[in-house]
Amino acid sequence: MSSPVAAIPSLPPSSPPPLPLHVDALVKRFGQITAVDGITFELRAGECLGLLGPNGAGKSTLIRAIVGRVIPDAGRAEVFGSPAASSAARALLGWVPQELALYPRLSASENLQAFGRYYGLSGKRLEHAVLWCLRWAALEDRAGELVRNLSGGMKRRLNMAAGLIHQPKLVLMDEPTVGVDPQSRNRIFEMIETLRDQGATIIYTTHYMEEAERLCDRVAIVDHGRIIALDTNEALVRGAFGSSSQVLARFDGAPETLAAWVAERKGRLVGTTAEFTIDHPTQIAGLLESASAAGLELVDVSLRRPNLESVFLHLTGRELRD
């Protein structure tokens, strides 16, 4: 009888590295309100994904579920293969909340040091991280300034920097430009672009279409707790409008007449602006003639390529800022 020979275990096929983020059928309810309604998506390494939707769409709740601050009623979220809210996930995540989550009586650098220590940084590592954050947020010359004395834009930048103090692999930014002036907003965009160029994986929530268009590789349009479309900016527009363009025209005339004419021409009335989708610019002349015949006097007209705002309007029937 031959002695048994232990079989050499076959090596498993090398598994691909875990995705930075995998969200699967996530549901979160607050009483009767379903804030997140079965959202599923994945995030690829080095990608910047925009979550675009109006206020109350469920973006922040989704982010908070990923961060582990909200316990989902169903579904799951995994960060680099670890369950959300686990220690491993927390260490890899950087969260920039919508609120200015800072200590107002501490200086900029003291805030960064405090949050760095909360993530276990100390000594030289902490010192370097604080310096990097101050430089990234262009706050080196205001490092010793108390937060309450900083301008709104500076506070926003510091708020972002505090989320990156532990140099996370995945950054979640929840409307980081809320309430800042255009100049500060541009500064924030530059910061995010720097981060992207360095290969960071980012989720960026906003209800500003321009921000999503400028910063994000892919955009998920969120409404009523669901992702209703997820693709690149161009693919979303192409999917909704093909090669069509949009005509926006404003008229003088009786509102009832305008509404009846817009409905007859299968357009959409947004405020006092009539909006039509056309396949070719030559169709504009026919539209204007028809308006004139209906007794409407043209005030101005413009032609534009559809954008994410148009896609949102197309998909939901509402504007992003409703």
Partner: protein, 437 residues
């Protein structure tokens, strides 16, 4: 334009219903507490605990003890409380009674000396020449110098109990009755009686006679010698009491204010951010507890140093320093936990402000921070045991007033640590609302 401002302010107040309710509850609660402490007709005067040691065991001394036991304002103990399944405890001796006063278990002890029954009154007729050189046996009244009320009340009640009417009148009436019943006195007897009554009247009407009594003797029918067994050598008897009492009250305010930072952080979102890091809610609260404890202890230290520098509190002796450290840290830990609990209960700073004011002032008034607990009725004294103030003050009093060693602080330290642990655990449980949505 005044009306819109009033309207807006009212609307804002109504939105915070808890704070709104507390603004009405607060005055009612305080009124009730002060009415309970000072205003109750049934329980206004606290019963004073008195140990009576009858060393004389004469008919007169037994009579006196019985009379004292019948006094409603006194709680007379001749021996400690019997325990079940144990032989009845022995009567107090002068030494054990003194220990009880020193430890603060009773306010006063009365030691009836040998020979009291032979000469129960504090003066004697001139004719009693055989004994005139001997001192009158005086009842010794052992007291705690911090309690200036109880000894006076007991001394007064002692006189009242011994003789409720004027002694000369009583004596004269007694003599008359005797004369009638005996068929009259001889002229010589009558002269001696008149001389004696004259002496009694002279003693009664001459304030100098009472003033000239030896130090520690109180004027009256019965000779009473006061002796403070606690605090007789203290520079300023009540400083340690007020340093502890006021100190703990403000510690409570400081702790609740500091713990209120939690509410600010929750409101600003900083708490969310902290909890998304490696910091857990337990470690966050533990960190706050340590900080608030150190803050409270520092505050207490500054207060006692001030009491030492300005009011001559005897702080720098090894026992006092050790006792202060033990009691200071225990008290600081308890108040820090208390602050965390309040902060975890409240939803807003306004609620915290109202609730902490309510609870802290209630605890401080019942617990003896505002006025000594021995001045309160027994039921209020018992209620005080549910406060941090009472245990902290008792502990500091043991250290600075009674000069007891640190080992004697175990009941106070045990209770304060127990309070700290219990309140922290409750606060941790309530703080789950911040943990996750």
């Amino acid at each position: 334009m005044i009306l819109p401002i009033v309207r807006t302010a009212l609307l804002a107040l109504r939105r915070d219903r808890a704070a709104f309710a507390l603004s009405f509850v607060l005055p009612i609660a305080f009124f009730s507490i002060f009415a309970a402490i000072f205003g109750s007709h049934r329980d206004t005067v606290p019963s004073i605990k008195v140990i009576v040691v009858d060393r004389d065991q004469s008919a007169a001394s037994r009579q006196l003890v019985s009379a004292l036991e019948r006094e409603g304002s006194l709680k007379v103990y001749t021996h400690s409380a019997p325990k079940t399944n144990e032989p009845p405890p022995a009567d107090y001796t002068a030494a054990t009674a003194e220990e009880e006063v020193k430890s603060g278990n009773v306010s006063v002890a009365l030691i009836i000396p040998h020979g009291f029954g032979d000469h129960p009154i504090s003066f004697r007729p001139q004719s009693d020449s055989s004994d005139s050189s001997q001192p009158v046996p005086a009842i010794e009244l052992l007291n705690d110098a911090s309690d200036t009320i109880a000894p006076q009340m007991v001394a007064g009640l002692l006189q009242k109990t011994a003789m409720t009417a004027m002694p000369s009148v009583m004596a004269e009436e007694g003599m008359k009755l005797s004369g009638e019943n005996l068929g009259g006195f001889t002229p010589d007897q009558q002269k001696r009686i008149n001389d004696m009554l004259a002496k009694i009247r002279q003693h009664q009407n001459d304030p100098a006679a009472a003033q000239n009594a030896p130090s520690g003797f109180s004027g009256g029918i019965i000779a009473v010698k006061n002796r403070a067994v606690v605090g007789e050598n203290k520079n300023n008897p009540m400083v340690s009491f007020y340093a502890a009492g006021i100190g703990v009250m403000f510690l409570l305010f400081t702790a609740s204010g500091a713990a209120g930072a939690l509410l600010d952080e929750a409101e600003s979102g900083a708490l969310d951010r902290v909890l998304s890091s490696r910091v857990t809610m337990t470690s966050l609260l533990a960190g706050k507890l340590v900080y608030n404890t150190l803050l409270a202890f520092t505050q207490l230290t500054v207060m006692f140093l001030w009491a030492w520098a300005v009011f001559k509190l005897d702080l720098f002796t090894p026992w006092h320093v050790a006792g202060f450290l033990v009691m200071g840290l225990s008290s600081a830990l308890a108040v820090a936990s208390f602050g965390l609990l309040l902060a975890s209960i409240c939803r807003t700073r306004a609620q915290l402000g109202a609730l902490s004011t309510l609870v802290i002032l209630m605890m401080s008034s019942i617990g003896g921070s505002m006025f000594p607990r021995f001045l309160m009725s027994e039921s209020m004294q018992k209620a005080g045991l549910f406060t941090i103030n009472a245990w902290a003050i008792d502990g500091f009093t043991k250290v600075f007033w009674r000069d007891l060693p640190v080992s004697e602080l175990w009941p106070q330290v045990g209770v304060l640590l127990g309070i700290a642990i219990a309140l922290f655990l409750i606060a941790r449980r309530i703080a789950r609302r911040w943990e996750y949505a």
